[in-house]
């Protein structure tokens, strides 16, 4: 009985939020948690820096990257359905063109829509004056 009463006291402390026991959850779709800058989410490819060398393709453990033609140049296409976000493509990129963004809401209805082509991945780095 004393053990149960001890437990009841500590749970009551949580109900009344005594002593640094606040509500910690976040109402997800309405408010979001701040992501760390290093978060490994959806890829992004620097349009100017990428040379389409395919090192990311060869180093990808799950072979989820393919180099495809986009306009006049070659860029990677990432199949998010197979990607495990290990970050190797970022590590090995010789031109440092690949990076990973904080976009993590990647669920979709079809497998085809999980293939992110260059049109969705490319971004233009702001040139510093």
């Amino acid at each position: 009985m004393p053990g149960i009463i001890k437990g009841l006291i500590v749970t009551l402390k949580h109900v009344l939020q005594i002593g640094d026991r606040p509500t910690v959850t976040v109402q997800y779709p309405y408010e979001r948690m701040k992501l760390a800058p290093r978060f490994r989410g959806l890829h992004a490819v620097d349009e100017d820096a990428c040379i389409g060398c395919g090192i990311c393709d060869t180093n990808c453990p799950n072979s989820s990257i393919k180099i495809v033609k986009h306009g006049t140049r070659w860029y990677p296409e990432v199949n998010i359905g197979m990607c495990m976000f290990c970050g190797y493509c970022v590590d090995v990129c010789p031109m440092n063109a690949m990076k990973m963004t904080g976009n993590y809401e990647l669920a979709d209805y079809t497998r085809e829509s999980l293939v992110y082509g260059p049109d969705k991945l490319l971004f233009k780095r702001e040139v510093k004056q």
Partner: protein
């Protein structure tokens, strides 16, 4: 009285088998006469994948063995490669490795105790546990960008140095954790119902435990003070002051208490690591190192060669993972891919003792004893 035997299939889809484990129980009423374990529902062929991928590409797969505590998996595999190829690791990298592994030990024990209590019917503990786990996962996210599948420890060091603001946040976490563990202890430790459920349940003697090859808290709960961090100190553990926790009783309560004690010890280790961490580079450039690509300022270390061929040979390394002794055996034939990867996973070996432990007990005791084994099915089936 003439009674029939009842055959119950518990799992693979069952709330308290921690995934897809299946028990085949032969029951006499509520008493278990025989318990057979059926494994393999989560088999993904990680060992075979290890033969198909290059040394570096296998690394992310090790995250997915024991996904509750992925850093020790990372570390053990990397340590095997380092021993194979003779790569030296900078001291700061070793400190960071120990830091993340001990942090992960706390996370693992929180999840273990939480799910044990949830199986016993007290859902509060797991929610409190996940509240603190979230803080730790945010630290991991700051460190390497992922919350569970880290891929952070690389051969020759770690992927990135500690980010700005990490140490203050860690100190905050350590301080908060002390109060939280006290809360857990107040909630659980002396609760009479919990004691009734745990004391004398799933007893395994020290001799049986050794014969079954149990390791980790499960073995130390039987009074065998076997901790690889003490016996074969790896990384920087020989410089740290801590003690291996063990309890002589060998029942579920002892195993639970070992985990609580280890959380206190891990906090103690983390404080020492934070206090004595040296300032230096985090990745080795000695033997296999290559210079970074010129011209482009790199955010992450790219020193490790893209084509890595260790000398032919074989190596077995073992470390004290939170769940027990984790071992990696790697045989190399000098090519870019391992010739053979064998994983000695703690969950799998610990699970073997379960069916002997629960004979003659009841279904609720099976749940309680199984909860204290602390297994992860990704680690069992690999």
């Amino acid at each position: 009285m003439q009674t029939d035997e009842l055959l119950i299939n518990m799992g693979p889809v069952h709330p308290s088998t921690h995934g897809v484990l299946r028990f085949k129980l032969r029951m006499d009423g509520e008493i278990i006469k025989d318990c057979q374990l059926v494994l393999g529902y989560l088999h993904r062929g990680t060992e075979k994948l290890g033969e198909m991928k290059t040394y570096q590409q296998v690394l992310p797969y090790t995250d997915r063995l024991d996904y509750i505590s992925a850093f020790p998996n990372n570390y053990c595999y990397v340590k095997a490669i380092e021993e194979l190829a003779g790569i030296e690791v900078p001291l700061r990298a070793e400190y960071i490795r120990v830091l993340v592994m001990e942090l992960n030990r706390i996370v693992n024990h929180i999840v273990s105790i939480g799910s044990l209590l949830m199986d016993l019917g007290a859902a509060t503990m797991i929610m409190w546990g996940f509240r603190e786990r979230e803080k730790a996962l945010q630290l991991f996210e700051m460190l390497c960008g992922a919350r569970m599948t880290f891929n952070y420890i690389k051969p020759g060091g770690v992927r990135e140095d500690l980010p700005e603001g990490f140490i203050p946040k860690l100190n905050e976490f350590l301080e908060e954790m002390e109060m939280r563990i006290k809360d857990y202890e107040q909630l659980i430790n002396s609760n009479e119902i919990f004691l009734m459920r745990m004391n004398g349940i799933g007893v395994i003697s020290a001799k049986d435990a050794i014969n079954h090859g149990l390791t980790g808290p499960t073995l130390r709960g039987s009074g065998v003070n076997h901790d690889l961090r003490k016996l074969e100190p790896y990384s920087i553990y020989h410089d740290l002051d801590f003690k291996a926790c063990s309890r002589p009783e060998g029942d579920s309560y002892a195993r639970y208490m070992v985990r609580i004690d280890e959380m206190w010890e891990s906090l103690h280790i983390l404080r020492q690591v934070v206090d004595t961490m040296p300032e230096a580079k985090v990745i080795s450039t000695s033997k296999y190192g290559v210079a970074p690509m010129t011209g482009v300022p790199s955010t992450v270390s790219t020193y490790f060669p893209r084509i890595f061929t260790p000398p032919a040979g074989e190596v077995y390394t073992r470390i004290e993972a939170p769940k027990g002794e984790l071992g990696f055996y790697i045989a190399s034939d000098g090519s870019t891919k391992p010739y053979r990867v064998k994983i000695r996973s703690p969950s799998f070996c610990n699970l073997t003792a379960l069916s002997g432990m629960v004979k003659g007990l009841k279904i609720p005791d099976l749940i309680a004893a199984f909860g204290t084994m602390d297994i992860v099915l990704g680690d069992v089936d690999r």
